[in-house]
Amino acid sequence: MSKEQPEDSIRLRFLTSAMSLVGILAASYLAESPVWITLFGIGGVIFGSWLSYKRRRKNNTLIKIGISIGILVVAAAFFRELLVRINLNIADARLPLTNMLITLQALHCFDLPRRRDLSLSCLVGLTLISSAATLSRDMSFALYLAGFIALSFFTFAGDCVSRTKSRAHSSISGRQQRSATLAWSVPLFLLGCLTVFMLLPKIEIEALRNTRLAAGLNLAFLGRENLFSQALTRIVSPDGSIKSNPKAYYGFAEELDTNYRTKLSDQIVLHVSSPSPDYWRGMAFDTFNGTVWTMSDSKTVFSRYAEKGQAIPITPVPTMLYNRNLPRKSLTQVFYLEEDASNLVVCAAVPSLVYFPSNKVEVDLYGSIRSPIGMQKDMVYTVISSRPLFDILELRKQPEPESQRNQRVKRRYANYLQIPPSIDPRLKSFAAGIAGKGNYFVRAERLKNFLQSNYKYSLDVPPAPNGRDTVSDLLFYQKRGYCETFASALVIMCRSQEIPARLATGYAPGLYNPFTGLWEVRLHDAHCWAEVFIPACGWVPLDPTPVAVPLGLDSDQQNLVLAYLENLLNKLSKQLDLAFLIHWLKLLYVPGLVIFAGFLLWFLRKQGSAFYTWIRQYLTKNSRQRAKAGLPESKASLAFQRVVESLSSFNIKRSPSDTSLELLRKVELRLHSDKDGESFGSAGDCLLSELGVFLDHYSEARFGKKQGTDELNRSADQLAAKLKSLAKARSGF
């Protein structure tokens, strides 16, 4: 087996190095690698690639020994870091792995003599970019990935050229259209990748889904029983109305005033990695005074501790107990905090295990988990929930509970049956008319459906006037509301029918980003819904808000990709500030014009010639077809034919194959022949020179680019007249 020759293509080496650099930059940025690792990676790739090109035909024993030692050191550092992380209960090995790959890539670049080594370098680059992809949580990674894919296209092409050259005996350079064609191919290639990505069936393998992660910040512990929220920074206007902070949801506090009015921002507050969507539950309220929801006991909390430095088991509190026979599904969710938040550990109901940066969490009476440490940006935690699977048909079929059991429920959940005395007296009979008869679930469901069908969702609802509760305001006056008022209405209506119910707050699932595979939960996804107690089952969530995101999004992934892109474009168009755009356009006008002119020139230079050739071929083909069809010939040809006809009076015949020069030669021979030489004399010479000039002009007009057929016509007429007069003079002799 012959040894592979060293690779001489600088272009291929450059592209390979560029791929490695993009991989290193993406990985170091997303893994937040130490600066020295990033610099070592970049420097190593640049210097190593140059050195390996210079020494590609040499043995490089010392360099290879150096690389081997370097690999051993890097591997040792990796395993050390891994041990440290295991001791610190950090299960995520991606960061040390990424750092190790960066250094390995840099070391490998010192020994790239052959094409297969370059291919291996690309493979390490691919591993790096894949590693970075797993760390990415937003769309900024798209730039790195697009750059990497585009570079990979060029690298493949460069490699192919090198292979083609080495496979052939010799090579011939054709017309230079290569770079232009390749440049045009890259956007098409990227488009093709996106199309295949959309068409690709995205199956889910649960085995490795959601590695349990918990990464936190070194924060001081808070008070044990307190609930902290940024939403407490409320603004009371001079007119008495209350406005809350648009950067925090006011429902994550010890009280929820349903008269608050705010439009929450579009900011992403959470990234959730979860195989299926759910409501990310924060907390619950049981007491309502007509306007404000509070917790009857917010101070009682139960501490839950981690076992042997592992996960924290969440033993359910009595108000979160479900029937043991109910089927359940385990749901692992990883939460990445993108903004500072209140110390509520939001998660899908019902949490069973929590991987958290601290070794304990608190659980209140309503099943909410509170963090003993501040929940700050970049914190990561994992919750495994045991999700009860409610069978609606079964729930509907359940018999109505006996009166004895009813009494027991009433006693046990008295706080969940509380109705404010200030509530409109019409409400009970109104709710009874809608709920009708049936079991708990059937009646609650009817109430929910009634609210969803007969009321409208609106954020522009004025606060309820003094003395009127927000529920009556929605049901009997405004007929429109938002999630807090709808949920409040359902809870109070259920309670009026002696069905225990409470108000829960949290986040809607958010928008699934098919690229990152994460649910993007924005602040405006903060949501409120009702939880209704169904005997022999447990607390069933019911969302009466008309535009609520339905639970269990099962639409296929292709539609999700399109939906995400559509959403992104809509947001962009909404966020486009016209004045801002015009300002930037003004600033970019001149450089933009220069760039555009340059692009136009480049385009004309590269593609214009091809287009011109095509046009010329097309026109030539058409002119041939016209000639075949017997269409009139060009003016130049007609002028030439007139001259040829005039020459026939001198008995000079032009055969079809005669060129202009041959015709001139014939005329010259004829005029200077012994017989007629004397008769023509100087007039003959003059005629010859004029004929020569005419034929030159004719050739240029007929076969060249020169215009001026009118002038040619005039010359032809003059020449024909001269020939006629000369012929007359000759006959006179």
Partner: protein, 383 residues
């Protein structure tokens, strides 16, 4: 040598090892993406899938965009190269094929890498050398793997035009032929192919055979050797002769058969060059009707074409003697080319008949007048 348009679709695929590596990586990435639910890795997988698909589709489009014309001589001699010229051009101008490997007759060592085929390209290849045969003109194979270089897609442009590889011809010395005597009217039993005037320069001296003119007897030499010797002159023409190629008997090997064919071709060419225009008879093959023969030069070409098409048979099914009629009433000598293992057409060779036996002679005692053994091309040259 008119150009033939080749538009047959014959595609072949060969994969680089990298193709399988990329496919494996794509599968692994897909598995990882499905496991961790990461869309970026799905996108990376999609890009690898596009590369794998593009590695097949783009070369296919490139190759489909190539129109080819081939110019090749219709006849060559065995052992010679065939110079083939091809004119490659793109069918449409917006997708110019790039980085093609063009080779003729699957001869990879002479393949040419063409960077771009934006306009007509004329390329010349030396194909062969070929053995004596009647075959099709060299096949042009164009391969392309651009731009991904994972999969080589080849398109063979196979010509329908025949290429006749005529047998090799050796220049004969003419001694053996001179010893033949035909029954023709030519004085001295010879035909002068050059000028018609006998030359005074002596070329050779040989033993007298029946039919030689007594004028050419070298009397002093005959007296010295005690047998009649005759002189051969420099410009003395050859006797008029025909050639009978006896294929009814088994040749020992293909090489022997080729030597026999070369011998026949050389005899015929020598005859035609000297103006004799010998006829060719092939025993075990239909004998050409001379009345339908084209003019001499065409006849020579036709004879060589016929020889080009003869095939060596390891077993001869037809065991038949040559018709004696062919030896009777001839006004030209007859040269019989046959296998050395075969028995002669008659134990006694007629006066106007010479026998050339191809291959080592087993029966060494069988030395008769008019017999010669050809065992190599070297011995053929001195014929």
């Amino acid at each position: 040598m008119s150009p033939s348009r080749l538009d047959f679709f014959r595609f072949s695929i060969s994969t680089e090892f990298r193709f399988w590596i990329i496919m494996t990586i794509a599968l692994v990435l897909y598995g990882i993406a499905a496991s961790i639910g990461n869309g970026w890795i799905f996108l990376l997988t999609a890009s690898l899938i596009v590369i794998l698909i593009g590695a097949f589709v783009l070369p296919l489009l490139s190759l489909s965009n190539i129109a080819l014309k081939q110019v090749c001589p219709p006849r060559i001699t065995a052992g010679e190269s065939c110079r083939t010229t091809i004119i490659a051009s793109p069918r449409y101008s917006f997708f110019a094929p790039q980085w093609l490997i063009i080779g003729a007759d699957e001869k990879a060592s002479a393949a040419i890498a063409l960077e771009s085929l934006a306009e007509n390209q004329t390329l010349t290849f030396d194909c062969g050398p070929y053995k004596r045969s009647v075959r099709l003109q060299p096949t042009i194979k164009i391969e392309c793997a651009f731009p991904f270089g994972l999969l080589w897609l080849g398109h063979s442009f196979k010509s329908r035009q025949p290429l006749i590889v005529q047998p090799k011809v050796v220049k004969l010395d003419g001694r053996f032929l001179s010893s033949l005597r035909s029954g023709s009217y030519v004085p001295g039993g010879t035909v002068n192919g050059q000028s018609g005037f006998p030359s005074s320069a002596t070329r050779n001296v040989r033993e007298y055979v029946r039919g030689d003119s007594r004028r050419f007897i070298h009397w002093s030499l005959s007296a010295r050797h005690n047998r009649l010797m005759v002189k051969e002159y420099e410009h003395e023409g050859l006797p008029a002769y025909d050639v009978l190629f006896d294929c009814t008997k088994q040749y020992n090997s293909a090489a022997e058969f080729e030597l026999a064919v070369t011998t026949v071709a050389s005899l015929l060419t020598t005859g035609h060059n000297d103006g004799i225009h010998p006829a060719l008879y092939i025993a075990d093959e239909p004998i050409s009707d001379s009345s339908n023969m084209p003019p001499y030069i065409v006849e020579q070409v036709a004879q060589l074409d016929t020889l080009a098409g003869l095939k060596y048979r390891t077993k001869t099914s037809i065991e038949k003697a040559i018709s004696p009629a062919i030896f009777q009433g001839r006004n030209k000598a007859l040269v019989i080319v046959q296998a050395s293992s075969s028995s002669a057409s008659g134990d006694s060779c007629p006066d106007n008949c010479g026998v050339l036996e191809i291959g080592a002679k087993k029966d060494k005692e069988k030395k008769q007048k008019g017999y010669r053994t050809i065992i190599s091309e070297a011995s053929l040259e001195s014929l």
